[in-house]
Symmetry: C2
Subunit: 247 residues, 2 copies
Amino acid sequence: MRYFITFAYNGTDFHGSQTQPNGNTVQAEMEAAFATILRVPVALTFAGRTDAGVHAEKMVAHFDVEKALPANFAGRLNNLLPDSIAVSDICRVINEAHARFDAIERTYRYRITTRKDPFLYINHTRVAKGLDFEAMNQAAKWLIGKQDFASFCRTHTDVKTTICDVREARWVQENETEAYFVISADRFLRNMVRAVVGTLFEVGKGKMTEVEFKAVIEAKDRCRAGHSASAEGLSLVEIIYPKNNYV
Amino acid sequence: MRYFITFAYNGTDFHGSQTQPNGNTVQAEMEAAFATILRVPVALTFAGRTDAGVHAEKMVAHFDVEKALPANFAGRLNNLLPDSIAVSDICRVINEAHARFDAIERTYRYRITTRKDPFLYINHTRVAKGLDFEAMNQAAKWLIGKQDFASFCRTHTDVKTTICDVREARWVQENETEAYFVISADRFLRNMVRAVVGTLFEVGKGKMTEVEFKAVIEAKDRCRAGHSASAEGLSLVEIIYPKNNYV
């Protein structure tokens, strides 16, 4: 029996989402909690990986079990898991459903603040005042559409294709000091959102024009993009699956 | 020349506000930053102490310097201080002004949530659903006024008086899952807000009546109050001084 589990995590304390030889990860914490309750090892397949320090307000993973899950399984997981991981939902899916391959859209949010704030810094990146949001939004329009994002892909990755279909990419100013960038696509390359945001910062500071930003995309060369923006402002906020995945 | 410095801190990482033999404190971090910039030791006198894990959205301290402060001193402090401490203001006061003795009103907020949330847990205490806010607010009315709060004072403290003038004490429901208790007084005893909140939780769970809560106050006996609520939900949010303190 296959299930999808939906959960959120604060990436501050983790060395990324997925199991690595060194460092505690969200996956390791969750698989340990599963094993404690179910008394058998259960492997989780995540919808995607998040790098060290990156958060997820909504992550999905699938897993298989032979017996029906015990009562209040999500609540018992939450009791075992640290404060920084919260399970919100567990539901049956068809046996062919796949958390990673079936996702039809993912959305990330990158939050920034111009204030030093001892609570916001956990999931906001601090930036200098004076970013030109209108210029950043004009440039961001060039991201929309199905195109090659090799310029915003970490080098030395072995992905087969660097083509992504970006459906939304815009900055939203929440108030005088906070803003966020929201980007939705069918798929994302490693480091893509942080590379896009870092390059848009160049536009916002007046160091790159909208036309130069368009040329960066067209160059398909990682060296042309700006530095990656730092991890703490980035959160995976939505993953969408086809409705017929669920039973 | 005496100054007041206003700052905020996230108490999660600190063993309390003030210097102790073991453990890093907000005071130690700040005095280290002062010494780095001014190249002389400067002692900070805090408006009050906060226990380990308790936050401050607004704390005030006074300090004396012989020479005028360098340009952009607050900004330079913020660059040196960790993300969890943020200086918002530094202003000259009269030489007799005292951050602790002159404060005429202090306000604390105690935040709760019924959700497990990997971001809220930093400054919200998680509670079970179903607290009776109307009953807690009826009971909280008995806190208002100038009276003896010995029932809510940590034992073995050497304060001269346990009389406080409480001016506001009420619960506010923000939405279906979050709420906070706000309490203002001329002064607070050690552990007082957490003991008050812990006892109000008993009322909210139906384990103590409003009349019994009134009797707890009147007993002037710490053994009669409930357990102290945990630290993470508590924040010092305001301190008020007489206007003629400032130059």
